[in-house]
């Protein structure tokens, strides 16, 4: 893989056809596009160290909107270079990749082929969205337009659990019906059946959802109602308002979880297997972003969650309030400089944590971009032993070099000091888009 990357970087960048050509058929039938990246990461503290190599490949072939056949793939390779795999908890760099028997691991995120034959067929590893949950699947999807305003789809296969040892006895199937009866309106009925056998047992779940969406001018209103088995699961409503002329965007969302969510199939389990059951709650959030002109921009949000039954509040079922604000600026004080500040505050019963940080990026040269940033986080925990504070301070600096069109070298060094240890990390990577 590394040799392939070197070969790709050594080539002169080739002109690629337009994203959307005016010809009836795109030239993507004859072109393969994607990105290839490799990253070396070294981490160390006063007593531990770790070295890993990562490689990422994304490929796309053809245009699914125009071409009869198109394909897409995305995968990751990783290798533990120093062979450190201590997962006993004493090694601060122990990770999920260390739980495998081999130093080299790989993950295939997507790999599918699309066929557009008047109706659409997609086969392979793909992520199905809005059914009503996004679930990755190894299988097939067939979608046909019954009418210019009505489409139907069915799918079937095996749910993809990337970190599960075996997909034995796993199954999923379902479908949806979607209608766009009037301008900017959409109605959709979705069904998902999941069967999952894992270390915690065998699960079989049926999820049904109905959603509606309507746009009017700068506004868009959407809602979704789901049932799990024959019981109402949740309802979500969302309103967005975008005023491009004034650079203002507003999003409001509310969710009501009706029933306690117990252990479910991996794909839709709300971590009940690890964080106990999820208790019913009501949650509302509001997000606003405003362009201030002159390259200045600010975004802020607030989220509130309250439990339906206050007495069920516990370690893993909390009421909370979250505030977030992110001001940004481009081209100030000098052209080529961008900076962003961020503040995030979570307040729940007993525990609070907040983070503030800032990032700056400076285009020193058309081929050179430098960056730096810092963040500070404070976790205030009210554990059984009393109040405890955990502090995390992080600073980093980065550099990006453009070798040619679509080719970059990125380097980043960070230093993190927390109540566990002092961590240093160096990442060096190359990336080529073709």
């Amino acid at each position: 893989m590394s040799l392939l990357l070197v070969l790709l970087l050594a080539q002169d960048p080739q002109a690629v056809p337009p994203v959307r050509a005016e010809e009836p058929k795109s030239k993507w039938m004859e072109s393969l596009h994607g990105t290839l990246a490799a990253k070396y990461r070294a981490r160390w503290t006063g007593r531990d160290s770790d070295s890993d190599l990562y490689e990422y490949l994304t490929l796309s072939w053809g245009d699914p909107e125009k071409d009869a056949v198109s394909a897409c793939a995305s995968l990751r390779f990783s290798e533990d270079l120093d062979g450190q795999t201590d997962t006993s908890g004493y090694y601060v760099f122990g990770s999920r990749d260390d739980t495998y028997q081999h130093d080299a691991t790989s993950h295939l995120y997507t790999a599918y082929v699309d066929m557009n034959l008047g109706f659409r067929l997609r086969g392979g590893r793909q992520t199905l969205e809005g059914i009503p949950e996004a679930v990755p699947m190894d299988g097939g999807l067939a979608q046909v337009d019954l009418h210019e305003r009505i489409s139907v789809a069915v799918f079937g296969g095996v749910p993809v659990n990337l970190f599960e040892s075996s997909p034995a006895n796993d199954l999923m199937y379902g479908g949806w019906v979607e209608a766009t009866p009037w301008s900017r309106g959409r109605l959709r009925l979705e069904y998902l059946h999941l069967e999952d056998e894992n270390v915690f047992g065998a699960f079989e779940d049926d999820l049904l959802g109905v959603s509606a969406e309507q746009g009017a001018g700068p506004y868009r209103l959407s809602g979704r109602y789901t049932w799990l088995e024959d019981t109402s699961r949740d309802v979500t409503g969302r309103l967005t308002a975008g005023f491009a002329r004034w650079g203002f965007l507003l999003e409001a969302q509310a969710t009501y979880l009706f029933e306690r969510q117990q252990a479910l199939s991996y794909a839709i389990d709300p971590y009940s297997l690890f964080l106990i059951d999820l208790e019913p709650y009501v949650q509302a959030s509001l997000r606003a972003s405003q362009s201030l002109g002159g390259g200045f921009f600010v975004e802020s949000s607030a989220t509130v969650r309250e439990l339906v039954k206050k007495e069920e509040e516990g370690v893993y079922n909390r009421e909370f309030v979250r505030w977030n604000v992110t001001p940004r600026a481009d081209g100030w004080p000098v052209s080529g400089v961008s900076f962003a500040l961020s503040g995030d505050y979570w307040r729940s019963t007993a525990d609070d944590f907040w983070t503030v940080g800032g990032d700056v990026s400076w285009a020193l040269h058309p081929a050179i971009e430098a960056g730096a940033g810092t963040s500070y986080a404070l976790y205030s925990l009210d554990l059984f032993t009393g109040e405890e504070r955990e502090r995390v301070r992080l600073v980093y600096t980065s550099l990006r070099l453009r070798l040619a069109e679509g080719s970059f070298i990125d380097a980043r060094f960070s230093f993190e000091e927390n109540d566990v240890d002092r961590f240093r990390m160096l990442e060096v990577g190359v990336r080529r888009a073709f």
Partner: protein, 341 residues
């Protein structure tokens, strides 16, 4: 002392105000970019000045053209002689030392964009169709001058769908060349851009260049900024306990199990087990789901269950109001409800 939310709110508002005032500061310490000169279009349109009167080549050439000093002086030669006329309303304020007008560049597009005013004028497209509100613009806010791609594509989609392909306006389309707004800190900014709207126009529609899986491929391999070393060791437990829904954006339960099934927490150090049993200080209860132990230890037989609360106890009562610091528990009594139900 706990951090006060009001203080955080005050700080963020102060940051907001500071950034907003930067726009004013820029007038005194301008960046290296084009200098803005607010122009009062309304003051001219109400006096019968038409678009083509100043922008003479709007219906003849690709560029609409900007008036020269001599052109402006045709009218302002006498108007500007008024000693009581404010200087900001005189032609001179728009001129540099050499007498050349310094017009704003709000409407200037990237050089790779090809646009012809004549082509639109030939099709009887009114100036205000694109420069909406320009007749009322007084220069304080460039309302009618800011050109957004979605206003172009919305009109093309309705009236000239054959001209709505990217190559109609963009001379340089290259999958290796990102749009101009994909500049620095795009990693931090793209979320807001993608949320800005994918209405009926195609602007800010990531799918124009990226397939849906591009989002997944990146978000599956690049963690959020707050996923620091501390996050991986301790922080994620705290965050997941508060809002597990945020984790579900990227992680499924098999991801948690892979790690927790094989990895011991950092707390399980010397003395955790017998004979010292330092784990008692963390829980001193059976391994019930109400404690962090249950993340890994499910249904482990433990100590005797705590006696239930008397029936007359109010569920919302403060345990400390009656059970003071003289508790014999190793904990401080804040989590009584975890066991005394």
């Amino acid at each position: 002392m706990r951090f006060r939310p009001a203080l955080l709110l005050g700080l963020t508002l102060a940051a907001f105000g500071a950034l907003a005032s930067c726009a004013i500061v820029r007038t005194f310490f301008p960046s290296a970019g084009p200098e803005r000169r607010p122009f009062n279009h309304e003051a001219h349109t109400v006096r019968g000045v038409g678009c083509a009167d100043c922008h003479e080549t709007a219906d003849k050439e690709a560029k609409a053209g900007m008036p020269s000093k001599e052109f402006c002086m045709n009218c302002h030669e006498d108007l500007d002689k008024d000693p009581l006329k404010p200087i900001e309303k005189k032609v001179g304020v728009y001129l540099d030392a050499a007498g050349t007008p310094r017009w704003s560049r709000f409407t200037r597009q990237s050089e790779e964009i090809k646009f012809s005013h004549k082509a639109h004028a030939d099709r009887k497209v009114a100036c205000t169709a694109c420069h909406e509100g320009i007749a009322k613009d007084t220069g304080l806010l460039p309302a009618g001058m800011l050109q957004r791609m979605d206003s172009c594509t919305a009109c093309h989609e309705k009236d000239a769908p054959a001209k709505n392909a990217c190559a109609t306006c963009h001379t340089r389309l290259d999958r290796t060349t990102p749009p101009g707004n994909h500049s620095q800190l795009w990693t931090e900014r793209h979320g807001a851009c993608s949320r800005e709207g994918r209405g009926e126009a195609t602007a800010n529609d990531c799918s124009m260049c990226h397939q849906r899986d591009a989002c997944t491929a990146c978000h599956q391999t690049r963690p959020p900024k707050d996923h620091t070393a501390f996050w991986r060791l301790k922080g994620h437990c705290i965050a997941a306990g508060v809002d597990r829904g945020r984790c579900q954006t990227c992680h499924t339960s098999d991801s948690c199990n892979r790690c927790h099934q094989s990895t011991s927490p950092l707390s399980h150090t010397a003395g955790w087990n017998a004979p010292r049993n330092s784990h008692c200080k963390n829980c001193h209860v059976p391994s019930q789901p109400a404690t962090g132990c249950a993340v890994c230890h499910k249904g482990t037989p433990g100590h005797a269950a705590a006696p239930p609360k008397p029936a007359w106890h109010n569920a919302s009562s403060s345990c400390r109001s009656c059970h003071s610091a003289s508790l014999r528990h190793p904990d401080n009594g804040d989590s009584c409800n975890a066991c005394h139900r």
